[in-house]
């Protein structure tokens, strides 16, 4: 089944996608370094720390001022050389690129993980579960709500509920974080029933069950904000999508043949519409792992989005590049896998047309 053409097609796609990742990561490195300007901050910091270190060292206390300055300068230059900062930025940018692409993410400039590690890998891995817990859950929930309600409405189109969903679909132009502010205003400020932010009560409950319940309680508002924001447009979109598929000629033909509605639905409507739905789902799932900078800021949810925001605030380039490269790889892998699956089922590729 796996023909030569298919292998060639996939290999070609893989190369193209990988090159795309390389270009995207390189651009990120340039932007996140401000074209080398961040290095000036880093070197400034380095110089101050060496200066202080020597000033504090009792061995050098008796050294006269100019001598001390010379020593600081020497040590600084040595350190610059050790860290590779003596080479031009352009050259270094390619070293950064190579490190990023081989997932050698290195150390953060200023940030530390909650457990105190300076490694970018740890900073990211520590927060990833929180983001996945919140945003992947909500993405999956949204997917099923939109799918099933959309399917239901496409069957009952023209009904009151259908018209309501169509009429309310503009509400989805408001982003999730915006609804988040309203929800906090209602459920925290006014009714005092739910926490306004954070992931767990302070201090965290000792036993795992009440800990989990506390986390769950903190998840309600951020999740609700995304579900409300996506609801009407999502359902409307899926419904219209199914409606378009259900007016295809082959569906009419199946109906004319007198096939049972159930069979028409599963085999004639659902199956051909599945690939784009799965693509969308896969992409939004990957997208959800990046977290949502603004929603996480509003709710102070300690996920990747908040780390990204903190990294931007503290000019921590390695963390930013690390997050981007992981995200780029995940996205690229997903696109490639989807390509492969479609190539398997698409007869045109087997025939070598596309």
């Amino acid at each position: 089944m796996v023909s030569k053409k298919l292998v060639k097609h996939i290999a070609l796609r893989a190369i193209v996608i990988y090159l795309t990742v390389v270009v995207a990561v390189y651009l990120t490195i340039i932007v996140a370094n401000m074209g080398g300007k961040i290095d000036e901050f880093v070197l400034g910091d380095l110089y101050t720390s060496i200066y202080e270190q020597i000033n504090r060292d009792p061995r050098y206390r008796s050294l006269p001022g100019p001598e001390k300055d010379k020593l600081v300068k020497q040590m600084f230059e040595l350190e610059v050389k050790r860290l590779g900062y003596d080479r031009p930025f352009l050259e270094r940018s390619f070293i950064y690129l190579k490190n990023a692409l081989t997932l050698d993410l290195g150390r953060a400039l200023f940030m530390t993980s909650d457990s105190g590690s300076r490694l970018v890998k740890n900073i990211i891995l520590e927060r990833l579960p929180n983001t996945v817990m919140l945003f992947t859950t909500v993405t999956v929930i949204n997917f099923f709500i939109h799918l099933f309600l959309g399917l239901y409405l496409s069957r009952h189109y023209g009904s009151f509920f259908d018209k309501l969903v169509v009429a309310l679909s503009p509400t989805s132009t408001l982003p999730g974080w915006f609804y988040g502010i309203f929800l906090i205003l209602i459920f925290y400020t006014w009714l005092h029933v739910l926490p306004p932010g954070g992931m767990v009560d302070v201090p965290p409950p000792p036993d795992p069950i009440s800990y989990a319940l506390s986390v769950l309680k903190h998840m309600i508002l951020p999740m609700a904000s995304w579900i409300i924001s996506g609801f009407f447009l999502g359902v409307y979109g899926t419904r219209t999508f199914f409606l378009i598929f259900s007016t295809e000629d082959y569906v009419e033909a199946a109906k004319a043949k007198g096939l049972p509605p159930r069979l028409i639905e599963t085999r004639y409507i659902l199956r051909p519409s599945l690939p784009p739905i799965v693509t969308n789902f896969a992409l939004s799932l990957i997208g959800s792992w990046g977290g949502a900078i603004i929603t996480e800021t509003v709710f102070e949810w300690p996920g990747l989005g908040l780390v990204t925001w903190r990294a931007i605030q503290s000019f921590d380039t390695p963390v930013l590049v690390g997050i981007t490269v992981i995200y780029a790889y995940l996205l690229a892998a997903t696109v490639l896998i989807l390509d492969f699956v479609y190539a398997l089922i698409d007869p045109r590729i087997k025939a070598g047309i596309a």
Binding site: T20, A167, P170, T173, I181, I184, Y188, P196, T297, W309
Partner: protein
């Protein structure tokens, strides 16, 4: 896509009015445009920036973080307005008399302020600002307040520390001590710590209320007398008393006492200009790029396709935030960056598919046959044909950009000078509006943002139906 002849803007507008969402969208949009014009005309750009950035000095006479005047409809009580009385401005209830003390170079300046306090709640603050003229010794001031119930409150004499001294009456410990002592001796009560200076000044005294710390407001005519002994020939004293209300103006104030209507008004033109420009320029550029790619095909097309794929991987929002945070740019630079980061967006793929099908149309073949140039075909034959299907998307994309600007401002990364809705939200969030219950502060910019989003969403929705008649049956 639509094969109907495009019958011009007028016809589309007419058709738009047959849709409820179209009418609603247009109505809101008209309101917002009028709102923006009003903002730009009444508060010029420079003045808006100056007023908004002017710290507390400009706004010292405004109450701090209070809701708008119409808020009292929801509260159901008459909330106090700000009362300002100035001895330099002769109005009803203000009088000033200067009597030289015979045999000395001293004089007695007595200023009297009278006001009618008919509100159901206490003021939020009370400050007295002095402007004294003296050569060596500053004036010695005594303040008494005659209440409607006949009681006279006395604040002990004090000497001004500077020519422009002020007495922060509502937070002064001296004032509280004097008032509490007076109430305690008069009623033999153990005055509760819950009562502040203002409650002890404007409250209806009763023994029980004083001990519980719960006094109703004493309504009626109050008279505040400021008596000062001034030293020296040309010495003089002027005073201004500000009794801060609990509501202010049409939109309330923030924690820096700034009237919110400045930012709310100016937010409208900024949001409209930002959203429309971003959406228009992005859509147009995407359209042109996609058309060129699809028309020429080959290397040009694949380069464009590859760039689009690179753009898919670039983290759009983090990029934008990095640039906004690192470079501290103004709103027009942000706009440019947004456009640059979106021109190779998802729109390219759909437009390309559209152009690929139009390329095969007979009229294009004909154009090629009579030797029309590539540019002529692209700009005069293809692009006019694909503009109508793009317009609904363009209009529908505006709210996204409006919220993008709001999101950046919300993170504190917007334009450093211009007041915008997102900035008000950011101030509210940082000022603890969500925790302290300053509902108006969050709701006002939010509702305006919502109105803007809905106007364009409704319009886009209706236009979509006009341009894609197939949707109409669904």
């Amino acid at each position: 896509m639509s094969s109907r002849p495009v019958s011009g803007i007028k016809a589309t507008l007419k058709e738009l009015l047959t849709y409820k969402s179209g009418v609603l969208g247009l109505a809101i949009l008209a309101f917002l445009v009028a709102f923006s014009i009003y903002a730009v005309v009444t508060i010029p750009y420079d003045q808006a920036i100056k007023l908004w950035r002017g710290s507390e000095d400009i706004w010292i006479e405004n109450p701090r973080a209070v809701p708008p005047e119409w808020w009292e409809i929801f509260v159901g009580r008459k909330l106090p307005r700000t009362i300002k009385l100035d001895s330099r401005i002769q109005t009803f209830g203000v009088s000033k008399a200067v009597t030289p003390i015979a045999g000395t170079d001293m004089k007695l300046v007595s200023i009297s302020f009278m006001f009618d306090y008919q509100y159901d709640d206490y003021p939020s603050e009370l400050n007295i600002f002095f402007h004294a003229k003296y050569t060596k010794d500053p004036p010695i001031v005594k303040i008494t307040i005659q209440r409607p119930d006949g009681l006279t409150l006395e604040i002990p004499r004090f000497s001004l520390r500077a020519p422009n001294d002020s007495l922060y009456y509502s937070i002064s410990e001296e004032v509280r001590k004097a008032l509490a002592l007076y109430a305690a001796t008069k009623y033999g009560a153990n005055v509760s710590d819950l009562l502040d200076q203002l409650e002890l000044t404007f409250g209806k005294y009763s023994r029980e209320g004083l001990e519980k710390g719960n006094l109703p407001v004493e309504k009626g005519i109050y008279r505040m007398n400021i008596e000062a002994t001034c030293f020296g020939e040309d010495s003089d004293l002027e005073a201004k008393v500000v009794i801060y209300g609990q509501v202010y103006g049409p939109a309330g104030t923030d924690n820096l006492r700034r009237p919110l209507e400045i930012a709310l008004l100016w937010g409208a033109p900024v949001a409209l200009a930002f959203g429309l420009t971003a959406s228009l320029v992005t859509s147009m550029l995407q359209m042109i790029i996609a058309t060129i790619g699809a028309w020429y095909g080959g290397v040009v097309d694949s380069v464009i396709q590859r760039i689009t794929e690179v753009y898919m991987i670039l983290p759009f929002l983090p990029f934008l935030i990095i640039i906004a945070a690192f470079y501290k740019v103004d709103i027009w630079v942000i706009l440019t960056v947004v456009i640059v980061l979106s021109i190779f967006g998802a729109g390219i793929k759909s437009t390309r598919a559209l152009v690929l099908s139009i390329k095969e149309y007979p009229y294009i073949e004909a154009a090629k046959a009579y030797g029309a140039s590539d540019w002529r075909i692209i700009f005069l034959y293809i692009i006019p044909k694909i503009i109508p299907p793009i317009v609904p998307g363009l209009i529908g994309a505006v709210p996204g950009y409006v919220f993008l600007e709001a999101a950046l401002s919300f993170l504190g990364l917007g334009d450093p000078f211009l007041p915008t809705w997102g900035k008000v939200l950011n101030d509210a969030y940082n000022g603890g509006a969500l925790y302290r219950g300053y509902y108006y502060w969050v709701l006002e910019p939010s509702i305006l943002l919502m109105l803007t989003a809905f106007a364009f969403a409704f319009l886009g929705f209706a236009l979509d139906r006009i341009v894609n008649p197939r949707l109409r049956e669904m």
